[in-house]
């Protein structure tokens, strides 16, 4: 197991290296002097000279890349001249809302979507199945922000049950924190639930036709045991895979949802940084989100061995 983990961790390095190359080339692809782009509109010539020196912009491109990576690995993500802060502290400030929103959404999406998918598969062809599948197709088609505004309109404006927008840090009180996350998390979960429910249904459906399911039923095991222990357990690998891959939808959705609900997280930061052409921040956020995505999928690979002991690396 530790050997496998180490090998898988090593395998993520080339992927992240390519992501780093892509993100690094971003600034080199924009027309103009990278130093003055990084420094922003209000920079003095001393600022620009300082950046040029720090990034080694007068040296060969390979060396520039090495310097950039070296700084990254030391936790130096550069300086945001727009926000007047180091990018690292900027990211740290914005981490909590995004982490809270994404984690909450992920947990409750899985808790809702997997049972929905199992029920749809078990009742294949009935109205339950059609409702779940209909929701799934719809979930892929309605844009995140439209869902967000509809929810705000119904639950915050018409019914006044929940706050319209905003965020409250966890240390300022749990209820206020949770209250402001309910609508954003509902919004964000729709597409994720649609995806997971759909795969769960297909995957369970495939397993339900197997001989051992018939055997389990013939033994007189209760329906729930057959579904959970025999069917879901064997259908788990594709479901877990899609939970990992679908995290990309979740990350994209975070960017939009945070804008709709005025949540000061990393997603909002990304949009603000792009609008302000604050490239060091854009680069850092993309690297960070990609790293999280790659690590999540690594976690999924590790989970395989627990879910299906036949899988050995």
């Amino acid at each position: 197991m530790p050997g496998f983990l180490a090998r898988r961790l090593l395998a993520t390095i080339p992927v992240m290296a390519i992501v780093a190359v892509l993100v690094f080339s971003m600034l080199r692809l924009t027309p103009g002097d990278p130093a003055s782009i990084i420094a922003g509109a209000a920079a003095t010539s001393a600022d620009i000279a300082g950046i040029r020196d720090k990034l080694g912009l007068d040296r060969p491109i390979v060396e520039q890349f090495a310097i950039w990576i070296g700084n990254l690995l030391r936790g130096d993500l550069g300086e945001s001249f727009f926000f007047k802060k180091t990018v690292a502290s900027l990211v740290a400030d914005r981490l909590e809302p995004t982490l809270a929103l994404a984690t909450l959404t992920m947990l409750w999406s899985i808790a809702v979507a997997v049972p929905l998918g199992v029920v749809a598969a078990y009742r294949q062809g009935t109205w339950v199945d059609r409702v779940v599948m209909g929701f799934s197709v719809l979930g892929f088609s309605v844009p995140v922000f439209v869902i967000g505004y509809v929810l705000i309109y119904v639950f915050a404006i018409e019914l006044s049950w929940l706050p319209v927008q905003g965020y409250q840090a966890l240390r300022e009180g749990f209820w206020g924190f949770l209250q402001r996350l309910i609508l954003p998390s509902l919004t964000l979960s729709v597409i994720y639930i649609a995806l997971i429910a759909r795969i769960t249904r297909t995957s369970v459906l495939e397993v339900l036709g197997e001989d051992y399911i018939r055997t389990a039923r013939a033994k007189g095991l209760p329906r729930s045991t057959v579904l959970m222990r025999h069917a879901l357990r064997n259908a788990a690998v594709p479901i877990v895979t899609v939970i990992g891959i679908g995290a990309a939808l979740l990350i994209g959705g975070v960017v939009v949802t945070e804008s709709v609900f005025s949540i000061p997280g990393l997603g909002r930061l990304t949009v603000d940084a792009v609008l302000a052409r604050d490239y060091p921040t854009v680069q850092a956020v993309i690297l960070l989100f990609s790293l999280v995505y790659v690590l999540l999928n690594l976690l999924v690979d590790v989970l395989y061995t627990f879910l299906d002991p036949r899988i050995r690396y």
Partner: protein, 313 residues
């Protein structure tokens, strides 16, 4: 759609009819699926609305009019023309905060959405096809190309699109490029997988043995096998492109408001959403309906053209 509904023309799973990859037979089968018909009908209606936009409204979607700001749907206004004559203008869907007619903007907005969907689908498939064929057939290229694609796919699609868009000035072309970049790796993977499975087939070996050169071999014997899955993929890409364009424009990094798109109409409606929800509601409904119809079409095409994929999804 199983073979049971159309016994005389049913094809075995995975079997390709002779005389081309997509036959009339398949086309007829696709058009017999109710969801496909629904999708095609809605899509044609939306296309018609976009094409006939000048006939459906006499108002200029970009005309700013400070006096007629924030009108509610159905508001009637008396406008005095330059020659002194008066006539009444009805704002069916109200106006936005700059006094532009929302109905006119929504009608013209259909053009941008459909254009982005179509162009992105064609461009992604064309680029992905060439790279995928090369990666699948030229062995030494395979490793390099696929690692590069893995890197691109490690960046969540919306984030990558936002990053690409930030590199140039906002506009239709920039948005199209930004959406094509994250879609290409998915096409490459698909094409490569087909090529790898086909190149070991006896008829390909026979063609090589008969002295067929590489280019005719790829074009005549390998390429046709990629067509059915690519048609399905292109449909899904079109749906996701329409969605991502709306998201980019909604976030303010996409197509600028002079060209109306459903995304930027909704972006305009954000600030006054509590009072005038119609600016977000109507384009939102149309957007969701359009994406839904493209997805329905994709599902129908998948079930008929690529039955192996049906079991996976």
């Amino acid at each position: 759609m199983g073979p049971a509904t159309t016994p005389p023309v049913s094809l075995a799973d995975g079997e390709t009819p002779r005389g081309g990859a997509v036959s009339d037979l398949m086309l007829r089968r696709v058009l017999r699926t109710p969801t496909v018909v629904a999708g095609v009908v809605i899509l044609c209606l939306v296309a018609l609305v976009g094409l006939a936009a000048p006939l459906l409204t006499s108002l200029d979607p970009a005309a700013i009019s400070p006096v007629s700001r924030n009108k509610t749907p159905g508001a009637v206004e008396t406008v005095r023309a330059d020659d002194g004559t008066k006539h009444e203008v009805r704002h069916w869907l109200g106006t936005d905060s700059l006094g532009r007619d929302v109905y006119a903007r929504v009608v013209y907005g259909a053009r941008a959405s459909l254009a982005v969907g179509a162009v992105v689908a064609v461009a992604s498939v064309a680029i992905g096809l060439v790279i995928g064929l090369l990666a699948g057939y030229v062995r030494w290229l395979d490793g390099i190309v696929m690692r590069f694609m893995d890197g691109l796919m490690a960046i969540p699609a919306i984030l990558l699109a936002i990053a690409v868009v930030s590199l140039s000035s906002a506009g239709l072309a920039a948005v199209i490029v930004a959406i094509v970049v994250p879609e290409v790796p998915r096409v490459v993977r698909l094409v490569r997988a087909v090529v790898l499975s086909v190149r070991e087939e006896p008829y390909v070996e026979a063609a090589i043995a008969a002295g067929t050169r590489t280019v005719p071999l790829i074009v005549r014997h390998i390429l046709p096998n990629t067509v059915p899955p690519l048609i399905v993929q292109a449909t899904y890409i079109a749906a996701s492109a329409i969605l991502i364009e709306a998201i980019l424009s909604f976030l303010g990094v996409g197509i600028p408001p002079e060209t109306p798109t459903w995304g930027n109409i909704m972006a305009e409606g954000r600030t006054l959403f509590r009072v005038y929800p119609h600016t977000i509601l109507y384009p939102g409904i149309l957007l969701a309906l359009t994406i839904l119809s493209v997805n329905l079409l994709g599902d129908g095409l998948r079930d008929t053209l690529d039955p192996r994929m049906r079991r996976r999804m």
